[in-house]
Amino acid sequence: MAAGSGSIDALSQFELKPVLGSLGTELHFSQANLMMVIAGLLVMALMWLGARPRAMVPGRLQSAAEMAYETVMSMCLDTIGPEGKAFFPFVFTLFFFILFGNLLGIWTYNFTFTSHIAVTLALSLLVFVLVTFVALRIHGLHFFSYFMPAGVPVALAPLLIPIEILSYLSRIISLSVRLFANMMAGHVMLEVFAAFVIMLGGAGLLGIVPAALSFSVNVALIGFELLVACLQAYVFAILTCIYLHDAVHLH
């Protein structure tokens, strides 16, 4: 976009615009909301269509649905412990919502809703509130001993407790900024190299070779983005599991 003018406008791809005509304008229904609805519907369609045949020897779609179920279930049980079964629906929803959001965003002309800090911050606040609620529900006021691990000399308490509280609170920021920065940086890189292709390709015969080079970099970047999309969804889910483990077991 706007590559011909000599400057690279890498951030305008994240602008929100209303979709679906005048109704969308009225409701402030942007393309991010549309992608969220599509991602949710796709996850539900995968699970519904995958679970419908109930075959002993699963077909392709049923295997995909079963694999999705088993991956997240083993993630929950391995990380949280036997109590993890209770948190499986939450972790599953979170993982697949983020995964489909990331993957759909790689598609041309699609919008990546996880590249907005507002979305990822809302998700991480949800995780944070849930984790704190679970810890308070299970342990009551004993939960606050989390900030003062057993066996630490009392003299260290004035130093240790603020650090522990700060690191507990900084989970909100680190969880949200990690996902948002990964998705945003990937799409900015794609945009920058695409702009290189247009700028160099328009520069005449001498620019053809570097333009082809930046185009092949862009192709490789798409593959890397596929990896990052899956990895960041996995990291978000596994960190949620680790935080839930802390909440259930207190260190």
Binding site: L11, R178, A185, Q232, Y234
Partner: protein, 74 residues
């Protein structure tokens, strides 16, 4: 120095953090290679941990990148 060039310099300085991230990611995969060489049977379990560590380290690089973008564009 005018504001625009100061911004460019600041964005350049902000991404010096990538040096540390490079060292960190190198460490993670060096440790992965040596542990798989010692015990190939543990590959599946160790690989997941390495990828988790890679993602956490890479996030630090992206924090620096976000700071550079904030300096440049906001």
């Amino acid at each position: 120095m005018d504001l625009a060039s100061a911004k460019d310099l600041g964005a350049g300085i902000a991404v010096i953090a990538l040096a540390g991230v490079g060292v960190g990611i190198g460490h993670i995969f060096a440790a992965l290679v040596s542990s798989v060489a010692r015990n190939p049977a543990a590959r599946d379990r160790v690989f997941g941990l390495a990828i988790l560590g890679f993602a956490l380290t890479e996030a630090v690089a992206l924090y620096a990148l976000v700071i550079a973008f904030i300096i440049l564009f906001v």
